[in-house]
Each structure stands twice: as C-alpha cells, then as structure tokens.
Symmetry: C2
Subunit: 250 residues, 2 copies
C-alpha cells in the first residue's frame, strides 16, 4: 500500500522534464534577448535596467513554477522535507525577484523616470505583494507548529488555488513587461518584423507555454501526491513539530 501510493505515474516524468526544458529555454532566451539586443547586464550604467527582466524571469517565473511542482516531483520523500524545499524555493525566487525590483527602481531614480504608472508596474507590485503574503500565510499554517490539522486541511485548497493564480498572474505580468520594453525601444519599427521583435514574441509564447505546462501538471488529479500518505505525513509533521522531534522518512 505504502509502496503503491508512492509510485510515480507513467507520464509525469516526461511532463516534468518538458516543463524544465521550457523553463530553462525561457531563461536562456531572456538572456539571449538582453545580450544580443540590449547590451548585456551590469549593475551600473543603463544596463542596470536589464537586471530587472532577467531576475524577474528567473525568480517569479522559473523558480516559482518549480516550487509549485515540488509535491509532484518528490513523491517518496518525507512530506516535511518536501514542504521545506517548497518553502525554500519560494524564498530563493522572492530574493532574486527583489534584486530585480531594486534594479528597476534604482535605474528609474538615477534616470529621473516616474515609477508605478504603467499597467505592468501595477500588476507587478500587486503580484509581488500577494506572493509575499501567500508565503507568510503558507509558512504560518504549514511550517509553524501553531496551526491545527483541521485548520491546515481547510486552508490547503485556498493555498493551492492562490499559489497557481499568483504564478499565472506573474506570467501575465512578464508578458506586459516584455511588450512594454519592446514598444518603448522599437516603436513603429516593431511592425517591420525586426529580429528583436520576433525573438521577444517567441519569448512571450514560451512564457505562456511554461505557464500552461506547469498548470497542466498541477491540474491532473491522478498526479497529486496520494492524499492518504499526505494526511498521514501531515499529522505526523504536526505531532513532530509540536514535540520538537524529526519524522522518520518512511
């Protein structure tokens, strides 16, 4: 029973591998776009702006997406280990995104540009704050020893829904930022199928594909970590955390 409940669905590894291929391609194409058409990346000079898209794509898209997949990928590990990995990946994503945010605000300040006027920036600040709040609430409920088992069970579906929503909203915000960067620089040249415009459009579609594949993996009911084992591990976790002991992996 324990063995069969921890078995991996046949198609899952292929979808996970495809998601990672897409995610890494998204990061690579973002780097290529910034390197080929925007002069590369540096903290000083006007290249500081370029830190923003790269950090946001690595943090808010790739790492955030991977953090959501942790429970589908690590099925045999103790629930607590998986939880900590999920929380840590989100911390890395948050820190990298924070560097990206500091970069753009600092760049705007140095150049004397206005902040927070565009739809991209409104969506961006909103999604970043929601991401932080979701992490704090998730930590309080699932890693901090205070919340009861029934409270966790009631909150879990909300955490999953808003986690997926914040991820998809991040993808949408990235598309808006990409579009903004293209229109500011290319202007009417965008309509002449400039190589930069075509590459950035391809990057936009890759971002959408990564979002869809991650969502697809999350949405498959059969691919979820088996709930019996999950509940058992959760109650064990709770007991362990309150008693200050560590759980046995099996």
């Amino acid at each position: 029973m324990e063995h069969s409940s921890a078995s991996v669905p046949a198609a899952l590894p292929y979808y996970v591998a495809f998601s990672q291929l897409l995610g890494l391609t998204v990061v690579a194409v973002t780097g290529a776009w910034l390197g080929l058409y925007r002069g590369g990346i540096a903290w000083e000079s006007s290249l500081q702006f370029n830190v923003h898209p790269l950090c946001m794509v690595i943090g808010m898209i790739f790492l955030q997406g991977d953090a959501l997949l942790v429970y589908r990928v690590f099925r045999r590990e103790a629930k607590r280990t998986t939880k900590i990995l999920h929380g840590l990946l989100h911390v890395f994503a948050f820190i990298i995104a924070l560097v990206g945010l500091v970069a753009v605000f600092d760049y705007h300040k140095k150049k004397g540009y206005a902040d927070l006027y565009s739809l991209h920036s409104w969506c961006g600040i909103l999604v970043f704050v929601l991401y932080f709040v979701q992490w704090l609430v998730g930590f309080s409920f699932f890693l901090f020893p205070g919340a009861s088992f029934s409270l966790r069970s009631r909150y879990r579906p909300q955490h999953i829904f808003f986690g997926a929503t914040i991820f998809l909203f991040s993808v949408g915000t990235a598309l808006l930022g990409l579009k903004e960067a293209l229109l500011f620089k290319l202007g009417s040249k965008y309509s002449t199928f400039e190589p930069e415009g075509v590459l950035a459009n391809v990057l936009g579609l890759l971002l959408v594909c990564f979002g869809v594949v991650v969502l697809y993996i999350l949405a498959q009911a059969d691919w979820k970590r088996p709930s019996q084992a999950e509940e058992q591990a959760l109650s064990m976790d709770f007991k362990t955390l309150t008693e200050g002991d560590s759980p046995s992996p099996q």
Copy 2:
C-alpha cells in the same frame, strides 16, 4: 437524494453575482474608455478600430467566462439543456469576437498597417484558433451522438482544463492589447498619470479580477455539479441522442 444532489452551495450565488458584477463592469469600463478617450465606435472611419477591443472583451472575456460558469449556475436543469446553453454561449462569444477580428484586420488594411507582428496579435490569433478547435472537439464529443460514454469521461477533464486555460490566455491577450493601445497613443505621456492611462490600468486590473473570480468558482470541488447526477444525465443524453428522443428534465 436527487433533491440534495441538486441543492445549491450557500456561497456560490454570491460569487456568481460578484463575477457578473465584475464582468459587466469590465464591459462598461471598456465602453467608457473608448467613448471618453477614443471618440466612440463606428464601422467606418478610424473609429472602426474601436470595434475590436469592445467585441473582444464582450466575446472572449465576458461571454466566454459566463459559458464556463453555466454548469455551476444551472444545477437543477437537465444536463442536456445546460450543455446546449454552454455550447450556444460559446457560439455567441465566437461570432462577436469574429466581428472584432474582422474590424481590426479591415482597419489595418484601409490604413495600410502591417498585420500580425506584435505579441498581442500572435497570442490573439493563437487563442482564437484554440478556442475554435476546443469548440469543435467539444461539440463532437459531447453534443454529437457519436462518442461513447467512456470516451466522453476520458476527454471531459482535458476539455475543462483547456477551456479554463483558453479563457485565462484570452484575459492575458486582452491585457497585452490594452497595453499596446495605451503605449501607441500616449507614449511618454503614459508616465505622467494621464487620466486615460489610469482608467485603462484600472480596466486591466478589473480584467484580472474577473478572470480570477471565474477561475475560483470553477476550481471549488464542492461547487461542481454533483457527478452522480452528471453521469446519469450524460448516459441518458447519449441514449436519447442516438435514439432521437428528448430526455425528461427530472
């Protein structure tokens, strides 16, 4: 049993009412934006462009979203009636969106502008084609009498996943279009918090909220049409359609 399975969850009507309030507000704000800042709507002259955002928002956002909610709202009606309403709402959405597409291609042609160069247009064409394919496949499986009950059961989760994904992709594409329209017209004035820019940003956030609320209603497992009644009605439907008879509503 029949009565309890058809009972409405307490919170559902409030969420549906909120979604409709948001959806109608999105349509109204789109109209207000086009009326106040873009000279209104007409098929001739440069106002023809404005037919595009209004039709796409009514068809691909509001009506498409409402079509997805049909199974949550009409819980007591015969499954077949609900199915036909779901299919018909998508047909209306498709026709209105088609008018919006014709408007922008015709406008581009008259003005001598290039077509399909932007990320918005790539996403738009892709999502429109996917929407059409999803409708055709959905019709073949669920309304046409050919598909077996087991085939329908296997396809249903895919249909639901891709339906929600296409809807969210439509919302993302609308945001890209809104951003494009703002940057083309306002340019650097966008950063001075022009009233049009602020109104359009608010419209963008309202679009996101409508998408999230529709997705939230769809994602609540307890709010789904009870599966026992569903399966019963489905097999009845299949029998009825192949025998050319109409089902009794209860």
